[in-house]
Amino acid sequence: MDPLDMRLDGNAAAGMLMDIFGQDMTGALTTCATCHAENPVGRLLVYAHGMGTVIRCSNCGNVQMKVALIRGGYGVDLRGVRTLRIWRAS
């Protein structure tokens, strides 16, 4: 199966990100550390499998977020995000 077919988008990471951040993150805006494109997380590209989830910029393809599924929780690497804008929860 070609990974292109298995490519998803930020909606697929919504549950995991809600676990980590405590609120829906698909509407949060990221600025890519590599190309500076700004997009809602829902529009980013997601490659997800049993080891973890990789969230890539929909503009340049570089990794923005990496979430490893490790025993007891998550290993989160956000180095590919320059800025993350989250709206205050109501």
Partner: protein, 204 residues
């Protein structure tokens, strides 16, 4: 996290190991297929410009083109593979070049390596873990050219460690003095990944 609820009539897709159970490391189950796990799109590779390098802390940096690589002495290992996501596949057959062949040519000074791959994936290994018939760069699987979704044209094969160490689309081995965490290791996976010791996550 578990609530104790059992779904009536659900067994999942796992295959019972039966006679093969002793060949499975702890926590693993057999898989009929060969799952594709990728952190990004399949790189498009032009064999005319493909090369393989061994450099970093070595006495003699090396570079092979595709045709030069295919001219190296090759082996056909038949091995069991174990993914940290718990599936295992027994008696897989591959064709490729032993890592000793590549490392001897470069004469490493450092004791570790970082594998760099098309698409940006990396993983780290000790030279001890890839010597003495323990590792290959393979370009054939089950008698055919290695398919792109499984790492073709060439990938690492290090079957005695969890399969995330068998990096797909490998292009370069950078020899280092320190063990530096790669793509998944830096996010919480184990630095070494021995399935027989269940070294899945850092701290295991």
């Amino acid at each position: 996290m578990s609530t104790g609820f059992i779904s009536r009539g659900f067994t999942g897709r796992r295959r019972a190991a039966g006679r093969e159970a002793s060949r499975l490391p702890p926590g693993q189950y057999l898989d009929r297929g060969f799952p594709v796990l990728s952190a990004g799109p399949t790189p498009k590779v032009d064999l005319d410009t493909w090369d393989f390098r061994v450099d970093g802390h070595v006495a003699r940096p090396q570079r092979w083109t595709w045709s030069q690589f295919l001219a190296l002495p090759r082996e056909t290992p038949r091995v069991d593979i174990h993914c940290v996501t718990k599936w295992s596949k027994l008696d897989t057959t591959w064709e490729g070049v032993a890592l000793e062949t590549l490392l001897e040519a470069a004469d490493p000074v450092g004791g570790y390596l970082i594998a760099h791959c098309d698409g940006g994936y990396t993983t780290n290994l000790s030279l001890e873990d890839v010597s003495d018939g323990k590792a290959w760069v393979v370009f054939g699987y089950e008698g055919e050219p290695l398919p792109p979704e499984h790492g073709g044209p060439a990938r690492l094969l290090v079957p005695h460690l969890y399969f995330w160490k068998s990096a797909k689309w490998v292009r370069r081995l950078e020899i280092t003095d320190e063990d530096e965490p790669g793509f998944w290791e830096s996010a919480g996976y184990h630095m070494r990944g021995d399935p027989w010791k269940e070294e899945r996550y850092s701290g295991d």
